[in-house]
Symmetry: C2
Subunit: 700 residues, 2 copies
């Protein structure tokens, strides 16, 4: 038997882009993937002997390196019942086989009512990725497939099988046997292994993988080759030194300005407003003094061993400034200027020059084209958008946008009332990129949860490796901008055609435990929730509403859309809820609280009702929908703050119905005291849905 390596080398030497079905299956079989009985034959006599040995009915196929899409090209005869039919089929296909420079393949006819597809594609950034889904005609019609990055573990396989819409096909439905998942799992893991072992294999399609009785069997197979590319290997680990950004002992501002509203002035104002307590050095050729600080005329005059320099100079002089800073022993720089590769060719060449300066000096750099970064535990920010004091908190952001240093941070501060630990605007990511920032946040005791906005991954594989670890202890929530369904329309293999960026990203993020969101607003709504309250222990929600319609609609959405369960409460809770309510209402979860509130007072009803479900062991999180109008009464809301403090292990969120001015006042009262509120009744549930997925990822 030919070795896998020699099959590949022979084919590449012959200039083949694809392996024949026969050779493809030899490789699969070598990895223990079950394949059909089959034989390559040179003449009719051989075909007859093979058919006899295999047993009728058989299939005849043209087998050659370039014979792909055999059904469409009529290079196949199915269900051959006897020697006469075999002869007719052979006589039709044999000349075609010669045209392709191949042979005729005699194959057993496999019957099975379930067709799956499995495959491999080599993502340019992620390397080999494995696909699983519905096969045959449904591969194209439904695109019901799931991807994971190689290597796959048991959990990956289990998730892949569970997340396709047609997953029920694997069960014992309609009198069929359940699919043997050990074999299926072995097939999927083996595909990943092949991809890792043989860089010359670009794609593998096994379609259909027919389930005969309960056993998956590769009935057709295609392997696509390529000359192994010399790809830039990702640096195994971070170069380190991010502490110089987040905990700088001394900072220089290159391009400090005395003119209000200029970036070089605003950044000083921000640093002072945040009460930075390290040494601050300003540099401007004019010298003098700005905001009470001495100004150095040049970088060369700066003292030794400054940790961080914020370079607020035009793009053209940025590279030289980096070299000058490095010469003075500066360890890290924030490059604020825009006008690089994001603009034009001139900028692109400046960017290359900047990159050389970074590489030559070994300095660490954020940007260019960054709106800066923030480290509230260190009372520091390099942001030049006027923000004043940035409230300290426990969530951290990685943002491939300036928003989280500018208007969105302004909104968070004024509209959502929570603080941040670290924020880093990636800019053009010439040096510091998301995976090492993620690694820094992972071990950062100030960071409880990590929120990320990215439009591209600079080192996706490394990012996912880091994420895979950190998500076991901290929530990582990511919004990926720029999702497209571009896909590779011209791809030879189905696997590659289905491997649009977005489908692969979806799979690998799940694999790494990263929770994907799609709404920009969720980046601050979920952050607000996690910042004030613990992560829910699970997805079991109780909520109190003053209206049956709200109870009904929200329960529907919890079950159908948000993946939240609204379980029965414990019997003692139920009895307690019944005790505080008038007898005509039958109490349960969700909690119809208005009868109790009407009879015994709004505060009494909501306080007792909420406490009952906060105490309940069947419940992981509680949402209070508070009705406040002049007529029905607006109680003092201290009781909500007290409840939140008394039950610190369980999230409690508040939303409203009634009069706007009371809602606004309640928000202004509750949020600074650590109780998150939401204007629309669906929002706290959307947030819980996200956070319950984080918990699930943590326990995967």
């Amino acid at each position: 038997m030919k070795s896998v390596q020699s099959i590949i080398e022979t084919a590449l030497a012959a200039g083949q882009r694809t392996l024949s079905e026969y050779d493809s299956k030899l490789i699969l079989a070598d990895y223990g993937i079950p394949t059909t009985q089959e034989s390559l034959v040179g003449d009719l006599v051989g075909a007859e002997a093979a058919a006899k040995w295999i047993g009728y009915p058989v299939v005849l196929k043209v087998c050659a390196g370039e014979a792909v899409h055999k059904t469409e090209q009529e290079l196949i005869e199915l269900g051959i019942m006897d020697a006469a039919e075999l002869k007719r089929a052979f006589e039709r296909l044999s000349p075609k086989a010669h045209e392709f420079g191949g042979q005729v393949l005699v194959q057993e006819m496999v019957k099975g009512s379930r067709e799956l597809v499995i495959g491999l594609t080599r993502d340019i950034q992620l390397g080999p990725c494995v696909m699983f889904g519905l096969g045959g005609i449904f591969t194209e019609a439904l695109a019901d497939v799931s991807f994971r990055m190689a290597p796959l573990n048991d959990n990956d396989v289990r998730e892949m099988c569970g997340e396709i819409q047609g997953s029920k096909i694997l069960e014992g439905i309609r009198g069929l046997k359940p699919v043997n998942l050990d074999i299926l799992s072995h097939c999927l893991k083996s595909l990943g292994r092949i991809g890792l072992d043989y860089p010359a294999i670009r794609e593998i399609d096994i379609n259909p993988l027919i389930v005969r009785d309960d056993r998956p069997l590769a009935v057709d197979a295609l392997i696509v080759l390529e000359k192994p590319q010399h790809r830039q290997t990702e640096t195994a680990k971070s170069r380190g030194g991010l502490d110089k950004f987040f905990e700088p002992g001394s900072v220089a501002i290159i391009g400090a300005s005395s003119t209000p509203h200029k970036a070089g002035n605003d950044v000083i104002q921000n640093i002072l407003a945040n009460e930075y307590d390290g040494n601050l050095y300003l540099v401007n050729p004019k010298g003098g003094e700005i905001l009470g600080h001495k100004v150095y005329a040049s970088i060369n005059e700066l003292p030794d061993e400054i940790d961080l320099a914020i370079i607020i100079l035009p793009a053209a002089v940025t590279p030289q400034a980096i070299r000058d800073c490095a010469a003075r022993g500066v360890k890290a720089v924030v490059l604020s200027a825009g006008g690089f590769a994001e603009v034009d060719e001139r900028g692109e060449s400046l960017q290359q020059e900047t990159l050389r300066a970074i590489r030559d000096t070994g300095i660490r750099a954020i940007g260019p084209n960054t709106s800066g970064h923030t480290s509230s535990p260190h009372k520091f920010t390099s942001t030049f958008f006027p923000l004043g004091k940035i409230p300290r908190g426990n969530v951290s952001y990685i943002a491939q946008t300036g928003n989280f240093a500018t208007h969105t941070m302004r909104y968070i501060k004024t509209g959502e009332n929570f603080g941040v630990a670290r924020v880093l605007g990636m800019g053009n990511k010439l040096d510091v990129e998301e995976s090492e920032v993620l690694e820094y946040y992972a071990q950062d005791p100030e960071t409880k949860a990590i929120f990320i906005y990215l439009e591209s991954f600079k080192r996706p594989r490394r990012f996912l490796e880091v994420a895979c670890k950190v998500t076991r202890s901290k929530p990582v929530i990511l919004l990926k901008g720029g999702a497209t369904a571009a896909g590779a329309d011209a791809a030879v293999a189905h696997t590659a055609a289905l491997a649009s960026d977005d489908r692969i990203i979806d799979g690998v993020l799940k694999q790494a435990g990263v929770v994907r969101v799609y709404n920009y607003s969720h980046l601050f709504l979920a952050a607000k929730a996690i910042s004030a309250m613990p992560l829910p222990k699970g997805n079991r929600v109780s909520f109190l509403a003053p209206s049956g319609a709200m109870l009904v609609c929200l329960t529907d959405l919890c079950r159908k859309q948000w993946g939240l369960s609204v379980p029965d409460v414990e019997e003692k809770t139920r009895r307690y809820l019944q005790d505080i309510s008038p007898p005509f209402i039958r109490m349960r979860n969700p909690v119809d609280i208005w009868p109790a509130a009407t009879v015994k007072g709004v505060e009494f009803g909501y306080r007792k009702g909420t406490e009952a479900v906060l105490r309940d062991h069947n419940i992981d999180a509680v949402v209070m929908i508070l009705m406040i109008t002049d007529e029905t009464g607006v109680p003092p809301l201290d009781f909500i703050v007290e409840l939140a403090r008394r039950y610190p292990q369980k999230p409690l969120y508040v939303t409203f119905t009634g009069q706007k001015k009371h809602m606004d006042a309640a928000k202004a009262f509750l949020e600074p005291q650590g109780v998150p509120t939401f204007p629309l009744i669906e929002e706290p549930f959307e947030v819980l849905s996200i956070l319950a997925r984080c918990r699930q990822a943590m326990e995967r």
Copy 2:
């Protein structure tokens, strides 16, 4: 050939619950649905003759009334190639056929790689409903099916084919021919016709409907019978008289109270606050005067010919009050009391008594257990929740909840700044029900759009008939509470098992052009939008944002989630946008407005940019994401009101980023002047998604 009627009668007489496959197909064939060639045989000789006539390969099946789920029960032999195999198969199946009291069926073996399912189920309220979807094993694994109520028209069939996820299977994929849609359409319409023609047919399953080449063919079929039920026929039309509720010339309050904060007092306060200008009569045994109005001691003392009475009395005395009112010539009553069937058995019996009073007197009644109704053009409300003046507007509500007369109306008034035309709280719907209210709103010149919250349909078929018409001229948006996936687990036929309430409702609402929403908040957010702005002409959106990340995320969501297109603008628009922007930014749709705003001022940028896209012929609706912070500037916002007035044909919505206080001020300034605003950037798009579907329904 037996007639359809005689097949059914014979089977029912024999106590059969299901028809045999053979008889089922006779009925289908009678309606022109293509079926397999087949023959019932009594012995092997007959089987051999039939097989010869049909041509090998053939299929042998046990054919009997109760022989269902033949595959699971091994009552079928596929792919019989010759006489020897036929003999073996016949000998195995023939005894089984006798057990079932049936015969053996010899059938042609149909090959085709596409299996569909079509079927019929008789919904207890909607009558016969037709199903279409993926067949064979996928019927169970994917439940990828769509329903419509019989009779079906061409548009229904087109939509059903398009809305299953696997719809691509109907196209010419993988070298297959496109499915002959004329035949498929005929099959679906015929099933509906059979359901209408034969009430004794409860369910039909055709699974699989195999596509041979391009032609669908019923390969297996099952008809389930029942003794035709005597079902209450829905009254063909409304009894009329709803104008007495919405335009009452005179109103009596039975149970008027002089005690503030009692319902009988609050309702008077509400009526006075709304400046009702008809005659108002108060009734209370105590007599005297309340709020300057004379109080009658009893209903009997009231003057003749009062249009409407609001009865605010305990449940127990409500029936007598109705009779008394009718005796005085009152045409319509609003029954406010709770404590009827929603509470207990005593209430149930009171409800029956109330119903008798209504029937006996012929009076029209809303409720009982209603929070009342509102008719702002007539300056009238029967609501007893203190609301004060209810702002007049052009949207109307039908609500199976009191919320829209209580706290949600309070929120709409104080938080969303729009008004309503008519609101009707259905309560227990003893008399007036949703379909006649819908009919009233349909012809009501004051009502521009209709929003509905329902937990059940009292006369669904009639509701849908009315909806089907009104949705061609007015948007109808419905939230159905209490969706469950209960389904009929024990159902014999697949069609019935898949016919969960929710799937059928989904289909029939689409059929009627009703746009279904799931978020309670959308009932007022979409209402606010349609109340101030025209319905968009289509789904083509332009938006202006101050941030690349927002442009990217929202474009992703428009395409992937909201069904909105973000098309290229006209070339002249593009050039204009480029002219007002600095050269380094490449302008297009969506509009990156911040560079222009930075260079030429926030007002200039947003004004010019927004006007350009409002003028553009490729654009149906515009969303402005306004960034307002102290530092970047907060322009006077009159320009937005001016733009909205200058382009009254195109919706313009505003949302924000930046500082909360400026957002609140902008909302308070813009909304009273007819420009809807939304706190979170996704909300205006969610609303546009709903309204674009309304437009699509209108043009169906």
